[in-house]
């Protein structure tokens, strides 16, 4: 029987010849990832023996370096945990970064594998053809102990990409166009494919896959193609993996064709991305207090490069804070070496340590009541980035950078007009 991507991966991971939507399967988990906040109230310290230390990674990301003694204690517990169970893949402060970025950089996310972490944006790994998803902390604890979890095989919605992505369009714009037009995908897997996919670089695929959580998708999957193999040749040389691509006549809950050449910069209005995004060109004037570029969705090197290019030789508008958070220490280092950090700081941006920080309203740039932020991060829920009386709009790194310079939500195209 022909399979979608998720059907293929879940069948293999559960030892079945085939699986179909609605079926409950028990899968072996290839990589279970633990993050700092899971050590907050959890019973990780009571684990007698882990199932397999080589299939566990521990990444400190949400609250590092620790802003409070309580957060500092999570680090202590994490260090004790990896020592007790001989876990080599430990990304402590200094080797850290946002978990989804780190595990991709470290070659821990491979095509055909099952990856889990207690962070809802674990679906980022779908960009690398992995059945990656976030599950609750208790389930991560169970995987650590047993090496297994269960899934209800979701039906798949396929996005067939045609045309070519315009250079100024980001994965964020593609995602917001989809979320705005089609709404939520609760209990479904999303799958991307088609002739237009070759024009979508890995950084944009990662943005799209990360944000699948925002429309309630269980998984967001890309095929393993030339771009995937090129990425993996860099981060995981000499590693074997099983490309898991959809069969030509697989059955989908729906097939939706997106002509990439028609996508324009998009903005999500505060609250949700679901049926709540508009083309930037049709947005009324929105003045801003803060502009944020970062998170697992858009804190990648490519995102910082775009931002640096736009702000180069210009200044952040008076009264606006531009905060840039690289997604990992590696991204930070690359951005320093390539001069992006200097360019951003010269323009008046604050470049912070790599952390989940401002994205979840915890530290490094939370919002006051009444403030307006335009963000390239993952989520625009009310209260997400600080005060419940703040307003969070979402756009691409290019949109955020241009907005920081102009002082209202704007396109880089407007910079020439403003300067003139």
């Amino acid at each position: 029987m022909p399979d979608t991507i998720i059907e293929k991966i879940l069948a293999r991971s559960s030892g079945m010849s085939e699986v179909r939507p609605g079926q409950i399967v028990t899968s072996d988990v290839d990589m279970t990832v633990v993050i700092d906040v899971q050590f907050a109230h959890d019973r990780l310290g009571d684990v007698r023996a882990v199932h397999d230390p080589d299939k566990i990674a521990v990444v400190l990301d949400h609250a590092v370096p620790a802003p409070t003694p309580r957060d500092a204690e999570h680090g202590t517990k994490a260090r004790d945990f990896v020592a007790k169970h001989d876990i080599d893949r430990f990304y402590d402060v200094g080797r850290h970064g946002i978990v989804h970025q780190v595990i991709a950089e470290q070659g821990l996310v491979l095509p055909g594998t099952v990856v889990c972490c207690t962070d809802s944006h674990t679906c980022a790994g779908g960009a690398l053809n992995s059945a990656a998803r976030g599950l609750g902390p208790l389930e991560i604890l169970q995987m650590i102990c047993t090496g297994q979890t269960w899934y209800r095989v979701p039906p798949t919605i396929r996005y067939e990409l045609t045309g070519a992505k315009p250079a100024h369009v980001n994965g964020k714009d593609i995602f917001l166009a989809i979320a705005g037009a089609y709404g939520d995908a609760t209990d479904h897997a999303l799958e991307f494919g088609g002739p237009g996919l070759a024009s979508v670089p890995m950084s944009d695929r990662r943005t799209i896959a990360t944000q699948g959580a925002e429309i309630g998708a269980d998984f967001t999957l890309f095929p393993c193609d030339d771009l995937t193999e090129a990425f993996l040749a860099e981060v995981a040389p000499d590693t074997t993996y099983v490309p898991s691509n959809a069969d030509a006549d697989a059955e989908y809950a729906d097939v939706r064709t997106i002509d990439l050449s028609t996508i324009e910069p998009m903005v999500a209005l505060p609250g949700t991305v679901i049926n709540n995004a508009v083309p930037l060109s049709r947005l009324e004037s929105v003045t801003i207090d803060q502009a944020f570029i970062g998170s697992c969705a858009n804190g990648q090197l490519a995102d910082l490069e775009v931002a640096a290019r736009i702000v180069a030789g210009r200044r952040v508008a008076p009264g606006v804070r531009l905060i840039v958070t690289p997604a990992s220490q590696q991204v930070y280092l690359d951005a320093v070496r390539l001069g992006y950090v200097a360019t951003l700081v010269e323009a008046g941006a604050v470049v912070t340590n790599s952390t989940c920080g401002a994205c979840f309203g915890y530290h490094m740039g939370v919002l006051a009541p009444g403030e307006v932020c335009v963000t390239s991060s993952t989520r625009n829920f009310r209260g997400r980035m600080g005060s419940t009386e703040a307003h969070v709009y979402m756009g691409s790194p290019a949109t955020v950078a241009a907005s920081a310079l102009i002082g209202r939500i704007a396109s880089p195209d407007e910079l020439a007009e403003v300067a003139a």
Binding site: I24, I35, V37, Q38, F39, A40, H41, D42, R43, D46, V47, R48, A49, H62, T68, R70, D71, T118, D119, S120, H121, R133, G134, L135, G136, P137, L138, E139, L141, Q142, C145, T146, R152, D184, T186, D187, A213, E214, G216, D218, T272, I274, C356, C359, F360, G361, Y362, T378, R379, F381, R382, G383, R384, G386, T388
Partner: protein
Amino acid sequence: MTSPLRVRGRAWVFGDEINTDDMYPGFAMKLPVPEAAQHMFDATRPGWPRLVEPGDIVVAGRNFGLGSSRACAELFVHLGISCLIAEQYNSLFHRNALNYGLPALVVPMARQLIDEGDVLAVDAAAGLLRNETRGVDHQVEPLPEFVTELIEGGGLISRLEAGGYLDRVDATSTTGGKS
């Protein structure tokens, strides 16, 4: 009425797409669970946790629990909520609820069957929902057996303890969760 699958309580009715950050604000992740629970729905229903009585039931619309893996269910359990009923759940949130031992039923059209303040009696294993206030019984989709076993056994932590995977400790709060 000793099974966690057979409960009775007043209904609190919420809307569509109730998200995790509304239930469990980011700053509350810095707090111990009992304090964090007092911040549920800070933005949209300030003061709600103080109105909850043990046994109360939370009813919601579509896409209940969109967002984070943070353990909202643990906060509900702390407040004494006995059951969730929604027209549709986000799968991550739904699994969390069941793992914390909180029955979470899918009831399409729930908000047409239940008004806020109605007294409900639920048998999650049998799929029975009785709206005592309206005097109407509804047959709903029961929880599958592997889930009812999980809940009757006290949730996933109890199962891991029983399986010898965890050292037993005095019952304290569990979890974690994230953005």
